[in-house]
Symmetry: D2
Subunit: 388 residues, 4 copies
Amino acid sequence: MENRKLRAGMIGGGIGAFIGPVHRMALELDHSAEIVAGAFSRDSKKTEASGARLYLDPQRVYHDYRAMAEREAALPEDRRLDFVVIVTPNSTHFEIASTFLQHGFHVVCDKPVALTLEEAKSLQSIASENSRLFMITHAYTGYPMVKQARQMVRNGELGDILKVVVDYLQGWVPFRLQGAGKGEKGWKFDPKVSGKSLTIADIGIHAENLVHYITALEIEELCADTTSFLAGHGLEDDGSVLIRFRGGSKGVLSASQTLAGEHNGLVIRIYGTKKGLIWKQEQPEELLVRDLNRIDTVLHKGGPDLYEEANAAKRLPSGHPDGLIVAFANLYRAFYQSIRRQQGGEEPSGGIPSGDFPNIADGVRGMAFVETVLQSAASEKKWIKMKA
Amino acid sequence: MENRKLRAGMIGGGIGAFIGPVHRMALELDHSAEIVAGAFSRDSKKTEASGARLYLDPQRVYHDYRAMAEREAALPEDRRLDFVVIVTPNSTHFEIASTFLQHGFHVVCDKPVALTLEEAKSLQSIASENSRLFMITHAYTGYPMVKQARQMVRNGELGDILKVVVDYLQGWVPFRLQGAGKGEKGWKFDPKVSGKSLTIADIGIHAENLVHYITALEIEELCADTTSFLAGHGLEDDGSVLIRFRGGSKGVLSASQTLAGEHNGLVIRIYGTKKGLIWKQEQPEELLVRDLNRIDTVLHKGGPDLYEEANAAKRLPSGHPDGLIVAFANLYRAFYQSIRRQQGGEEPSGGIPSGDFPNIADGVRGMAFVETVLQSAASEKKWIKMKA
Amino acid sequence: MENRKLRAGMIGGGIGAFIGPVHRMALELDHSAEIVAGAFSRDSKKTEASGARLYLDPQRVYHDYRAMAEREAALPEDRRLDFVVIVTPNSTHFEIASTFLQHGFHVVCDKPVALTLEEAKSLQSIASENSRLFMITHAYTGYPMVKQARQMVRNGELGDILKVVVDYLQGWVPFRLQGAGKGEKGWKFDPKVSGKSLTIADIGIHAENLVHYITALEIEELCADTTSFLAGHGLEDDGSVLIRFRGGSKGVLSASQTLAGEHNGLVIRIYGTKKGLIWKQEQPEELLVRDLNRIDTVLHKGGPDLYEEANAAKRLPSGHPDGLIVAFANLYRAFYQSIRRQQGGEEPSGGIPSGDFPNIADGVRGMAFVETVLQSAASEKKWIKMKA
Amino acid sequence: MENRKLRAGMIGGGIGAFIGPVHRMALELDHSAEIVAGAFSRDSKKTEASGARLYLDPQRVYHDYRAMAEREAALPEDRRLDFVVIVTPNSTHFEIASTFLQHGFHVVCDKPVALTLEEAKSLQSIASENSRLFMITHAYTGYPMVKQARQMVRNGELGDILKVVVDYLQGWVPFRLQGAGKGEKGWKFDPKVSGKSLTIADIGIHAENLVHYITALEIEELCADTTSFLAGHGLEDDGSVLIRFRGGSKGVLSASQTLAGEHNGLVIRIYGTKKGLIWKQEQPEELLVRDLNRIDTVLHKGGPDLYEEANAAKRLPSGHPDGLIVAFANLYRAFYQSIRRQQGGEEPSGGIPSGDFPNIADGVRGMAFVETVLQSAASEKKWIKMKA
């Protein structure tokens, strides 16, 4: 193919949405693809505003995903979308994904990919018949230390896997029903949109996927207990599952969205005949390795001793959380506001809030600090007044 | 101004560089700006490859930053750069930044902004005379929980500040001289390029900047001890500084790059008459608040109780480290490789490495898991074979 | 009763035993009781050596627990034992405990108290008929922060309890079978001595007891999966249990002794409608409280905000782990060795290993440090040579 | 010497004191010594109550330490004290210690050992002239992992030591002056009793001692800044010290007692040419080892890979904090209360608060749990009602 960015379209993810912008930032992060079209919302004003925010050609901002599929498919190859990203509520995934696959587009879809196993299988067939790629965003598998864990298991570092304990504990259900988040209730509590499962379909499958990704274990049978503590509508907000994997390994999976104070507590512990591994999503850049003799090793993202698969997935070296990119982006965002304000006619001296971004005054103060320190050190470490 | 992305140019940051790509990802993260020109390296092949990697117009890929400044300044306003990003070695900052400021461009520059205090002041004058914005990337100030800390101090939650203890401990000097990183030595050990200070200029000023950003304290006088343990060439790789701030607060600043095993250990502890705050760069999404009565509170990025300034700086809610965007991006990267491979003629079924990205088979397995769990729970929690 | 220490006897716990000395240190810690008699081992030499080590009257060092029960019962009241401590293997608990109860002694017994439910009930009857007290050493309930957790639940701070997740993860089975601990296998692998359950009886009941202690919840029904991965002899070394408590709360209990690298990982998480609590036995002096709105509070042993029940159980203030008593005791132990060596005729200057305990030379150096610091601070903080 | 416990006397440490009971528990922990005499307080009623609490012979409870020294020295050798423990305020240490040394007793004394360097040297002479042992309780050196650290340094595992960073951060000064501890002010704020230094003499010397104990480094010169933020009376409550050790190593020592929310934050970090070590007093049973290549190892108390010196200092195996002895002791304490209550005539059934200590009902419930789990597991893991 020619040397160009891939062209992406988004369905859902309009202004105010949570996961849409995450997809947008991620898909554009490597300067390899760009959103050029979208049907962002059922609310046509929101769709237009979302398209404008992304500087899209208004011709490619659609109010209806079917129209979008048809008209984008009709574009000449050098303008046509390469793929679409579906970030709409669960109940619409099947129909939207089918439509775009059938119109010849690769598809990225949020989990759960469908409301039923039958629908999921149907999507698999459609993708296969149309030779289209289908990605489901189990994003935790993208973390460097998850890839490290996987390679360690693959390479037999753990020995035979005996036991997997995976917890995925959240607290947003009471937060939204009774706490500070009251009012953000949303469609997940509505079985018509969410499906017949709340917690297992929402996060249980992330946990299951992570186990499978790292260990390649297949579930043979399971025994589950689910509860609807607070969610109502017959939707479970808590589930615990005993698991027997093929080959004799055992597992316990706890998923809950009703646990006061929990954020996004996905923790996986994998134990083999030689070693154990513990990974926590809330501290994703560390991997704890425990060995038979109770010596703990903490592997850090970016360390020189990691597998290539892990190192290839990092953007920053050890000690620099990958989220530092966002901190950098915050500086740029403040900088852009000042540029745009100035381009609108304002002088930078006239009202840029101090502290917006580190500016040349910080640079001057920094160099004053360097020179004062060097002078103090050179003069047998006497106390020296800070240079100005 | 018109509704468009800002146009950025980059000096330095060619393929293989560390900090250049970080700037590129950050500046493009919010879909508000894009790199459209650059002089990426003194090596002209690397410059060209870097430009091609970013799909730049070859006309705007320069082999010389002076030519870039002149020719970009001559472009019509609707194509001209808005700002440049300077990510070259220290010794070139002053000259490059001066040139672009004088040609009318806003400037983003890595720290240290110059080799001397005098140069820094000169840049300040030039920026001011030309009414240009100048950002220096003390990026740690961009973290949501750093902004939270700042607001807490500003709002008097800590009472009067008594003491600040800030450590910035790294170990890359021995790592590169004696460890696994041997051979990556680089220009920082060369005083001609690096300047007369290694560690204080490289990270000491980050620590100083963070103290100033959060507390607004001004250093009145200081007493320092610096050592060149391993770096050689008269460059200090370790420094400790006792600080007296204006108004009577005291401080201790320890900066070192020679401490075996340390990654990027920037830790700031601020104590006032009412409360103390501890923030650790390696776990940036938490802020520990300690109070007079020894009750600890852990604030998390995205919590409902944070200041607006902190919440505005996050990209993901609590429990989801902002680095998750990178994990998402890794999925997209693998997806793109498959798309491009297929566009080159290959069938997706013919050779996509399994595990590249979660695909529809994961979606099917996930739904099988959901339905099996629900069935087990509904049938009085008997063991149920996993559906296929 | 008169003002005196209580008199205790010990069965088992001879030299080389693990848990016997722990009981001895604990029972004597508060200067309220003392061991004055014992039948320490089936090995009569070990019994005698153990008695001598405790400076016991040789008349009260027994080779047979039955003889001990009879003869101690026959002593006049002002010499007779108040209670006995049974720290023998599981299979002997029932018989020994019955014997001492029937001879009129209060009993402390290690868990599991018996090999079967029937035996346990029988002990309960015997204790009741004889009006004897019977303590079983579920020692984790003695931690201050466990008591704090209990009071918080009792006082409704958590609201209604929804879910309890308790893990008790150990790795000593592979450590002893395949690792550095090879050879220490011991009686726990022998079903005749250990009983028909290894892991559930050894640590599962600790986990169950802790849940009950803190929450007062009663198990209504449960569903379990157990595995014998490595232990052999039909003894499970791993078990996972789904639990339904009376009243509708749910629970998951994971107990395992076969997980490479785990030490003594007892962790309990309790979630109510208002708050969640997390306590980790390996960091027992902290209690994490998570609330509906995702604000975390870390309570520390000894803090001013704890319930009286928690504070009464501490020996040292906040920040001073109670294990510091052992560090102190190590100093004393070294000091005693020197005293005894000197009493044997040696001069202290002739051969006390340096570093045995901090001595007056440390005191002198410490005061030299204090005076040098004060002098440096007073002399406008110049560098000062350390005083000698 | 004969086979007996050593006989100890205590000066200070009466009922209500903090450190006295810690010494008493520690000195008796190993059943090797016992307190048999004391002058516990200037308040004669408190002295008598303290003696009674320890079941002492009233003849050996003294109201005056001089009388105690004289009369104990006059006792026959088989009753005479072996050593005394001095846990009185600082200003009295010198006089009391001198007196007992001169009467032929070994001495244990709290730090600081004296008010001045001169006094400390004088004590050293007196001890030496009288061939008496003198222990100063820098108890942190008694921790197993501190001994491990020391052996690692001694054996060259760290290479040459480059830098030591030691913090000792407390917050009790504001806690007592302004917080919940108001009213417990105490003698430490009185220079007549405390001496001319508050913080450096109280905890700075612990930090200095720990550095010396682990590394054997000797301070050559230092530069200090001290502040009296809150303490008043010219007493510093904060100090920071730059240190140059003999041989070229550098150090930074921060000691403060005025930092809101800090408990007892003694943290030492030692970096050599090969490895770094981090030990935190508040989590004393772990030692973090960082290596040149940024691989972290966490060593745990009781691990099979520790030096003999470390393992000899533990009382419990890995995963069992040594403070568990105190949790055990709390069970015993509750048990004793019930015994004493019953011996006073009450029936155990009549009013023993439930939950005081785990009793036979817990044993019964535990065995019911074990049998229910085994039955559920054996019956193809169906749900089983809990046995009663």
